[in-house]
Symmetry: C2
Subunit: 168 residues, 2 copies
């Protein structure tokens, strides 16, 4: 289910790209600088919007790269405009688009390390369940919540996107 | 991976239970009524904290019930205190504790229906990936963000909980 979950993350990043467009239109309608969004925070000691979007992208990109061993594009975290953030999201989606189900074979037993873990490691399966997925949705939802908090007209359908409904 | 993901949701609900305790301690230290949290919102047209917690619980509970066919306990959505919300979280965890990996056999091909879908259905696999998981984390993260926005001292470690780190 790794491939399917990263496909879902790709879909969610597509929704995030649409939220940025809705936010830009809201700023235009209200005559404020759309790049102000990048500095907004829900608490003084929480990361600002620009970081929430960057980390949502990286949770998907770096998570997929660690589980597949496929090199991911580097991003310098230098976005200063809403448009540049949109390009960051699109670049992440493009990387995820290159991955196939076969690339995730053996993901569960890969050994994942992190400088913060002081020499310890996680299995790919544990890392996926306990860190990649919760962390992705954490930053994705904070991005959404920050826009909602600042008046952007979004709803649950914008969050979820189109569901795969079919005839019974 | 259904069972493992619901186990992870159970872990996340355990973290949510701890956030409620931290929120209660914060209210006590600042001498305000802890039950005020239940009405807080990030936007006037978003659901308040009490609903965010209830829906996070229900996304896990009802999602697991639909994928396993195992009856879930009914909750009347009548919580009026932080303590009652804590009991709701614990009751949800207790239900998830009754489920085994075997209960999720055949989950992917179950047919999921919903009055909102106007007669259409989703497969269990699609419902899990496209709705249950994103919706669970949406409301879990909104619960967290609402507390952070209102001054409760939480951080990423409180969100993720303990990771399954091991020696290399």
């Amino acid at each position: 289910m790794y491939f399917e979950t990263f496909s879902q993350m790709k879909k969610q990043l597509g929704q995030l790209g649409k939220w940025l467009e809705t936010a830009a239109a809201h700023a235009k309608a209200k005559s404020f600088d759309p790049n102000l969004y990048l500095g907004f925070r829900l608490a003084p000691d929480q990361l600002p919007f620009v970081k929430q979007v960057q980390i949502a992208c990286d949770a998907a990109k770096l998570g997929a790269s660690r589980l597949t061993g496929k090199a991911a594009p580097s991003h310098a975290d230098t976005e200063q405009t809403l448009e540049e953030l949109g390009a960051r999201v699109r670049s992440t989606i493009e990387y995820l688009d290159t991955l196939t189900a076969k690339d995730f074979e053996g993901a569960a037993t890969r050994v994942i390390s992190n400088p913060r873990w002081e020499g310890k490691v996680m299995s790919g399966a544990d890392n996926f369940l306990e860190h990649i997925v919760p962390n992705f949705y954490f930053h994705l939802t904070h991005s959404y919540a920050l826009l909602r908090h600042n008046g952007v007209n979004l709803g649950k359908a914008d969050y979820l996107g189109t569901l795969s409904l079919r005839a019974p």
